[in-house]
């Protein structure tokens, strides 16, 4: 039983199967992303009422909050993949980590940029040394540090492994960094969605937010799969199946 699961798992984690499977998945994921994005944007920009305190400018939240969530999700996901890569030596995990890093960094940057745009009218400053802003900035540095390390190591195999160790060290540190910064200084408004009792956000604003969060999530899966497919092709360029694939495509 366990063995069959293990075998199917390995089969799907093999580059060839991954390439075929992801090729079939990507259009669906892309369509779903588009659907969620359009409905979320419509509900968020046209249907949801203006906030009684913040007026129209709160609407940037529909981009800001999902990107902040994604910035954390992608890092955690990369760390989990690092564990898989280091323990079971599944190369596909490394491929996925590599294709995720730049996306995660972009989400982090987007969260910072939109937060800054929102902060100017609300707090009266482009940047304040608030706890969450600061830990988001440090998260950006963690992403960039990972990318710099991977780019600096020449041998691709040890680059992936070194990066994986760094990600695991980083993921142990993220909660410590987050809480230390929180105690240091905070100005940011408290969480409004994940409070354990009823969320203190009206459904007409919550729905577009959740739709946008879904859209960002599927956007990430779509784009990281596309990037991973390209990476797989490059890594396996000397293997038989890639040659066949290229031959069949150049013919047809």
């Amino acid at each position: 039983m366990w063995n069959t699961i293990w075998l199917t798992f390995h089969k799907f984690a093999s580059p060839k199967h991954f390439y075929a499977l992801s090729g079939r998945l990507v259009p669906w994921l892309g369509a779903l992303t588009l659907l969620l994005l359009l409905s979320g944007l419509y509900l968020g920009l046209f249907v949801a009422p203006p906030d009684y305190q913040q007026g129209q400018s709160y609407r940037i939240m529909f981009v800001h909050v999902p990107s902040a969530w994604m910035s954390l999700f992608v890092y955690t996901f990369m760390a989990v993949l690092s564990g898989i890569f280091l323990i079971w030596n599944i190369k596909l995990a490394d491929v996925m980590i590599r294709s995720s890093a730049a996306l995660g960094a972009s989400f982090t940057f987007l969260a910072l940029a939109t937060g800054s745009l929102w902060g100017k009218p609300m707090w009266g400053a482009w940047w304040v040394w608030d706890a969450r802003l600061t830990s988001e900035l440090i998260l950006l540095f963690l992403y960039l540090g990972y990318m710099a390390l991977v780019a600096a190591v020449e041998d691709p195999r040890s680059a992936g492994r070194a990066g994986a160790v760094l990600l695991l060290v980083g993921v142990v540190n993220i909660p410590i960094i987050h809480y230390s910064v929180e105690w240091w200084n905070t100005l940011h408004q408290g969480p409004t969605v994940t409070k354990f009792d009823k969320p203190s956000i009206h459904p007409s604003m919550l729905w577009p937010l959740l739709l946008m969060a879904g859209a960002f999530q599927f956007y990430y899966f779509t784009v990281s799969l596309i990037r991973a497919r390209a990476e797989v092709l490059e890594r396996e360029r000397r293997s038989e199946w890639v040659r066949e694939l290229i031959a069949s495509q150049s013919k047809g």
């Binding site: 280091l86 440090i138 540095f141 963690l142 960039l144 540090g145 990972y146 710099a148 390390l149 600096a152 190591v153 195999r157 040890s158 492994r161 070194a162 160790v165 760094l166 695991l168 060290v169 980083g170 142990v172 540190n173 410590i176 960094i177 230390s180 910064v181 105690w183 240091w184």
Partner: protein, 222 residues
Amino acid sequence: MVQVFWALLRRDLLLAFRHRGELLNPLLFFSLVVTLFPLGVSPEPSVLKTMAPGVIWIAVLLAGLFSLEGLFRSDFEDGTLEQMVLSPFPLAWLVVAKVAAHWIVTALPMLLLAPLLGLFLALPLEGIRVLEWTLLAGTPFLSLVGSVGVALTVGLRRGGMLLTLIVMPLYVPLLIFATQAVTSAVAGLPYDGALDFLLALFFLSLTLAPFATASALRISLS
């Protein structure tokens, strides 16, 4: 196990004392960075006093990091590191010995120099006392976490800048708690909470970092 620890510690200390000139460099760097701040910001004692903990700690972080860069280098170049990886003793244990030797050679002198620099920056005596405690509890964390970064970058040609990039974000909690403790002490507030956090960070890094460093060394050597 204990013997190999002492042997490695002794060897590293001996090596360090044979290059006495290099021992001074981190200290000079440390004092120079601290000296630049009054010149660049303001020589006003009230201003100096508020920024003293941060300035001293940032200088310690930079000096510690730049000196850590050489932690494995000579061993990497002459092949000793490979022998350590192949030896029957657990690599993480050997890493602890090497980091301890490095701490004695670089962090301890900074600990002794820090009160003097504290006086330069108009830090009151109570603040200097607590600064010493934070340095004592915090610098081992600096060395242990730094060793992971050094192990990851040891084989690279220009590892120095990269090391700073990947390790500095991890030092944020250290900087926050250490400066908070000193600032509270100067203001006459309780500071033992922040000190306890520094100790917690130290023990956490002592139990986890050597293993990360060991696996990073194996990757860098493969």
